[in-house]
């Protein structure tokens, strides 16, 4: 008897309480769905507060905050686009947009963007979200790769401390990591579980380009002198000088932090936003500082894939969606988002905010690098994800571990890589 009652209750709940919620509004007001990928406590709070403030001042255009996840955003968006159920405003990273932009899923914002927003964000940032002739996202947050260093260790060693004005060259960097290590400790720990984007983005400083676009728009891979500098430095640190820990080559950034706090490594190259984890997890009294990544022939340049806000092509309210994006990215709001995510804003006005120029937690060093950030070399190259997974990742991993030499690395990146790209460019 009890079983029958239970089954009846469950069925009744399912039939009454769980049916679809698509309720249209008849009062003329518009509701936009904003899928945010903010995930850190302060960042989620900043986003939700901004949505609340918008809703309080815009009764006719309500924004509904929807929490997305970095871990699954590509698959989730793809099915949503295919099914015509995508959110109106989409938060993503610029290197994930190419397929969606070329596939016609995202709206071209070129004629929708207000002049204020367009002029506030530098052209080099717009290039990260430009595919063909259209702009398919507004780049708003970005992070350079920096060196997080054990300040006490560096001070005691007496090495020259680099600044954005006088950074280390790659040669100097290799020499100094050699001086810092010894007795079971290392000058540096490279977390290269995902070696491709880190290597390519840092290689811009040495003039590395790897992907070369010809006049007809076709892209080919050439691994030239400038492309060799960063991979060779990492390889030699790990295999020749033994100044880099060989075990962290397969680790993520988070995995290297306990060893860094425990005094095993003097420095760890990490994304700028990792400072939040370091502030949370570092033992009391642990003195750390942010240093610029080494510079090469092209100075401090490095590639980034900024976080972006896009509008779905199927959205019936593109104009309102762009108005909301413009509101969200007002300079003072962009600063709030940047502080919440421990990243740098792309907007030139926001970058002037005093809160981003304090020496506390290395903000000033990171902000000084903003002008050197460029579009990541590969993000507009069709076929890049396949090249990265099937060719470049295993090739770099084998090279860094010492299993293959530089010639073999070059041969695999170019020969196998160009075969992959050719399939996408027929």
């Amino acid at each position: 008897m009890r079983t029958k009652w239970l089954i009846g209750l469950v069925l009744a709940l399912l039939l009454t309480g769980c049916t679809g919620s698509d309720s249209g509004k008849n009062d003329g007001s518009v509701t936009l769905r904003f899928q945010s990928l903010a995930w850190q406590e302060e960042s989620v709070a900043a986003n939700q507060q901004l949505v609340k403030e918008w809703n309080a001042t815009h009764p006719d255009v309500k924004v509904e905050y929807v929490q997305g996840s970095w871990d699954s955003v590509h698959d989730q968006l793809l099915t949503s686009f295919e099914g015509g159920e995508a959110p109106d405003i989409i938060h993503d990273a610029s290197d994930d947009l190419a397929d969606f932009a070329y596939g016609g899923y995202l709206a071209d914002l070129t004629d929708l963007l207000p002049a204020r927003l367009k002029s506030d964000i530098p052209q080099r940032s717009w290039e990260t979200a430009t595919f063909g002739d259209g702009i398919y996202g507004v780049p708003f947050l970005q992070e350079p790769r920096v060196l997080i260093a054990n300040a006490t260790w560096l001070k005691e060693s007496g090495v020259r401390i680099p600044t954005p004005d006088k950074p280390w060259s790659w040669t100097e960097f290799r020499r100094i990591t050699g001086e810092l290590g010894g007795d079971g400790t290392y000058g540096i720990a490279w977390p290269l579980k995902e070696p491709v984007s880190a290597t390519l983005n840092l290689s811009l400083s040495a003039g590395g380009q790897l992907f070369h676009r010809s006049a007809d728009g076709k892209v080919t891979i050439r691994f030239e002198k400038g492309d060799e500098v960063v991979p060779r430095t990492v390889h030699d640190q790990a295999n020749t000088d033994h100044s880099a820990s060989p075990t962290t080559l397969g680790s993520s950034g988070s995995d290297t932090l306990p060893g860094f706090f425990g005094g095993k490594y003097a420095m760890v190259p990490l994304g700028f936003s990792y400072r939040q984890q370091i502030v949370q997890q570092a033992p009391k009294g642990f003195d750390w500082q942010v240093l610029p990544a080494p510079a090469g022939a092209d100075g401090l340049s490095q590639g980034v894939s900024p976080q972006t806000l896009s509008v779905a092509e199927d959205s019936p309210h593109k104009k309102e969606a762009v108005e909301f994006i413009d509101y969200l990215l007002q300079p003072k709001n962009m600063v709030r988002l940047a502080l919440g995510d421990w990243m740098l804003p792309t907007g030139t006005q926001a970058l002037k905010a005093p809160a981003l120029h304090t020496t506390e937690n290395g903000w000033a060093t990171g902000t000084a690098l903003a002008a050197h950030l460029r579009s990541a070399p590969a993000q507009s190259v069709r076929g890049y994800p396949e090249w990265k997974d099937k060719v470049a990742t295993p090739a770099f991993q084998e090279y860094y571990s010492g299993a293959i030499g530089l010639d073999e690395l070059r041969a695999r990146l170019e020969k196998d890589g160009n075969l992959v790209l050719a399939r996408y460019q027929r």
Binding site: C18, G20, W39, V66, T79, G83, S254, Q277, Q281
Partner: protein, 277 residues
């Protein structure tokens, strides 16, 4: 046959090692859930948190609607379990008792259907559900879970039905019981442990399922627990480890409670499936 003392000790050691192997991830999860961020960053982690804290649980509940998500998961999982069992039980009976070509073909199809990868079916399924206006609906999700669980549930139940001797049903018929009476009074009680085990399988499958819930549910109010758990993971796999562990620990509790409550029934159900008439 007598087992030597050494052999018995070896068996216990092997059993203990196996239990430790099974329990390790869960115990480590509990350990992390109660550690402070500073302890999580330690080079020398300990099993017992040196400075246990509930902050991870507080933060997890502050940041994400865990209770609402747990309620959605519970509704979806219970719904899937009940409906799957209601459909699978009579079908399994027919497949087990009627050895026709159709029953054999159905069994074959059940096996083959397990080979389809999720990505192959998700977009057509999405479009079908959209046409039925069942996107962003827990009822739509329950239907998907039922369809997904049904083949394996059928497979399990066919085994249980075959374990019930047909002679018992024949004896009931000789004693004058009708077909329905025989099924309700004789077969169903013997099948109960198998039905419970099958329902539990469907429940756990739905409770843990992530991908369908991710793509089919759009609004935060409808999202299930596995989807909400991913909100603690950032770009490039960086995770807010403490709150994630706290939330994941809470997410495992319902499964453990359900298992604990009906463990005896499952065990007897499994044994029933193993006995030949």
């Amino acid at each position: 046959m007598r087992t030597s003392t050494t052999g018995r000790v070896g068996q216990y050691v092997a059993l203990l090692a196996y239990l430790v192997f099974l329990a390790f991830p869960f115990l480590w999860l509990i350990s992390i859930a109660f550690k402070s961020p500073r302890e999580l960053g330690s080079l020398h982690p300990t099993w017992i948190p040196r400075d246990p804290t509930l902050d991870n649980f507080r933060q997890a509940f502050d940041e994400q609607p865990l209770l609402r998500a747990a309620g959605n998961s519970l509704l979806a999982a219970l719904g899937a379990a009940v409906i799957a069992v209601l459909i699978a039980t009579p079908l399994a009976y027919v497949m087990a008792r009627r050895r026709t070509l159709l029953a054999r073909a159905a069994t074959g199809w059940v096996v083959v259907s397990q080979a389809f990868p999720l990505v192959l079916v998700i977009i057509p399924l999405f479009l079908v559900l959209k046409n039925l206006r069942l996107i962003n609906s827990l009822f739509g999700l329950v239907l998907v879970y039922v369809v997904w669980a049904l083949p394996f549930a059928l497979w399990m139940l066919v085994g249980y039905v075959r374990a019930v001797p047909e002679e018992l049903e024949e004896a009931a018929a000789v004693d004058g019981a009708g077909r329905l009476r025989t099924l309700v009074s004789v077969t169903a009680p013997l099948l109960a442990p198998g039905i419970v085990a099958t329902a539990l399988f469907a429940f756990i499958t739905a409770w843990n399922e992530f991908f369908f819930a991710l793509v089919l549910l759009k609004t935060p109010e409808k999202q299930t627990l596995p989807v909400v758990l991913t909100h603690f993971i950032g770009a490039e796999g960086v995770a807010d480890l403490g709150p994630l562990a706290a939330a994941a620990f809470l997410a495992t509790l319902p499964s453990l409670v359900v298992f604990a409550l009906i463990q005896r029934r499952i065990t007897s159900g499994m044994l029933a499936g193993a006995v030949k008439s």
